[in-house]
Amino acid sequence: MRTIQFREAIAEAMSEEMRRDETIYLMGEEVAEYNGAYKASKGMLDEFGPERVLDTPISELGFAGVGVGSAMNGNRPIIEFMTFNFSLVGIDQIINNAAKMRQMSGGQFDIPIVFRGPTASAGQLAATHSQAFESWYANCPGLKVVVPSNPHDAKGLLKSAIRDNDPVIFMESEQMYGDKGEVPEGEYTLPIGVADIKREGTDVTIVSFGKIIKEAFKAADTLEKEGISCEVIDLRTVRPLDHDTILKSVRKTNRLVILEEAWPFGNVSTEITYQVQSQAFDYLDAPVEKINTADTPAPYSPALLAEWLPNQEDVVKAVKKVLYK
């Protein structure tokens, strides 16, 4: 199978869908003439023209709202944020308008919109540029939140997100755009709301999503050498969350570690922890462990950042703890 970069998978998904459906357009900072701040829309202005690939000023509130308004009136917009850190100045349009329009209107308006861009830390970018808002968006009814971890999943999930009739928050990573992975030539989509067991195992379940899941894979490799078999579940979607896949795995392994790049208070990990204790209490042979970032804004210094971010050693330690080893 051919191998392509994550950014190419994103561009392919958008381009294929735009060829199929003329109501779709792409809007955001640097997406057109510059070919995308991270080149995830390379070649799209040339192919689709300035009516469908639009550079915006630095006005996240303005263009997020224009996207929602146009979605009320026949378009299927893809709105790119250069990072979701910048979505905060436009978050009113996402939470109050995109997520709630259908409900407030008694079901009159579908809002088929995708807000996409990178999330979480990406090197030493410090406090304002290193934030993971998956759990913020996932907290809000009306939205769906998708976070792929490799090019194959990114393409299939983004195509589904664009076709979805509900607003989808689609979160990537600056540090994944260059990642290469196998992506088939032909047309395919992946379902939203379905987790993927990336690695089967019997001793412990590790749940993760997005780029940080790579630390889980590395830890699983290390632990395998020590005779510990890890099952690694990639959530792929955090709203709606695929609880069944997690519960099924925990009922098999009886132990759970959750790895999530997010502040530790009230996040996706805590939600999973609640659901598992509520629905699989008798299957647990150890308390659930979760690994998050430090409970502080992201620091700049490399020494501090290494301490702040979860890594494979943290995962190994947590797995051994739930195994009482």
């Binding site: 308004g69 259908r102 407030m104 509900d166």
Partner: protein
């Protein structure tokens, strides 16, 4: 512009009187606690709506506004009984009882809400116009806001985008003098709101918002500009609301005399004066209109009273287009 004939004056009189009496009825049933939540009434501002509707092509033009929004959808053709039922929280309401006072919508009639966050609807209005331009529909969006909303960043970001892309939209500030209880002069160095258009080179100007003829003339020019590809316009309608911001407003920020001064230029009275002066209707005919309005309002109240509350499942059914969305449970 469509001629302002005898029929137009009579329609204006009946429409505006109906809107006013509809709002008065809501105030009355609010005090009886049949309608709850916030209640923002349009009394005094009716000429803005009447004049705008005259200049619109209702077969394709659209309207979007903030939370003072009960009567605009009625003007666009929505059954007023369903608007009142929405305020009663009934299943027959325009949003099946999910939206309430601040969130009236009608996709069918081109009324796009009904928005509760001050200024949040401004980029949406540009977005509606973006889609109309994208699909080459030659339709125009009328995007209304209050004098408080113009100080939000959303206005400025949207003005820039709307001019950049020459969107077919008319922005209308209904300046009723007070953002809740704070006057325009207390919150801005410049009080000529229409001048905010100048920085974006957007055609702009002030309009006498108490006179539907003046409103219709200004709106017609703006709508035609938008429809013919000339881009957006920003109009400041100088108007006035007689009632408080919402129902709990003691109105200490203004004098009774000020309110009385504005009632002298009341839009309904102005229209009625023309009707009398030009003998468009006899006293008996006017009395008939008054009676008809009273009956229609009563009919709305009856419909809302007698309608059933929504089924509990509707709370889930309307959130996602996806039919089998797996909602989390919230209690045993």
């Amino acid at each position: 512009m469509k001629k302002i004939t005898k029929e137009v004056y009579l329609k204006w009189y009946e429409d505006m009187l109906f809107w006013r009496k509809f709002e008065d009825k809501l105030a009355a049933v609010y005090i009886q606690q049949k309608v709850r939540g916030f209640l923002h009434l349009y009394n005094g501002q009716e000429a803005v709506l009447a004049g705008s509707l005259h200049a619109m092509d209702l077969s394709k033009d659209k309207m979007i506004t903030a939370y003072r929004n009960h009567v605009q959808p009625i003007g666009m053709g929505v059954d007023p009984r369903r608007v009142m039922a929405e305020l009663y929280g009934k299943g027959t309401g325009t949003s099946q009882g999910l939206g309430g006072s601040m969130h009236i919508f009608s996709k069918e009639k081109g009324f796009y809400g009904g928005h509760g966050i001050v200024g949040g609807q401004i980029p949406l209005g540009a977005g509606l116009a973006f889609a109309d331009k994208y699909f080459k529909r030659e339709a125009v969006t009328l995007c209304y806001m209050g004098d408080g909303a113009v100080r939000q960043g959303s206005l400025h970001e949207t003005f820039n985008l709307a001019m950049l892309w020459q969107l077919p939209v008319v922005f209308i500030c209904e300046n009723n003098g007070y953002a809740m209880g704070t006057s325009v002069a207390r919150t801005a160095h410049t009080t000529d709101i229409w001048k905010l258009g100048l920085g974006y080179e957007m055609p702009c100007g002030p309009v006498d918002g108490m006179n539907p003829v003046k409103v219709a003339e200004a709106m017609d020019e703006a709508i035609e500009r938008a429809r013919s590809g000339g881009g957006p316009t920003f109009l400041e309608m100088k108007t006035y609301r007689y009632r408080g911001h919402s129902m709990s407003d003691a109105q200490h920020y203004r004098t009774k005399e000020e309110v009385e001064e504005y009632k002298k230029i009341d839009p309904i009275t102005q229209v009625l004066d023309v009707i009398r002066e030009k003998k468009y209707a006899s006293d008996e005919e006017i009395a008939e209109i008054d009676k008809r309005v009273k009956d229609r309002v009563k009919e709305c109240e009856k419909f809302a009273e007698e309608s059933p509350y929504p089924d509990k499942n509707v709370m889930y059914d309307v959130v996602y287009a996806q039919e089998d969305y797996p909602f989390l449970s919230h209690k045993l």
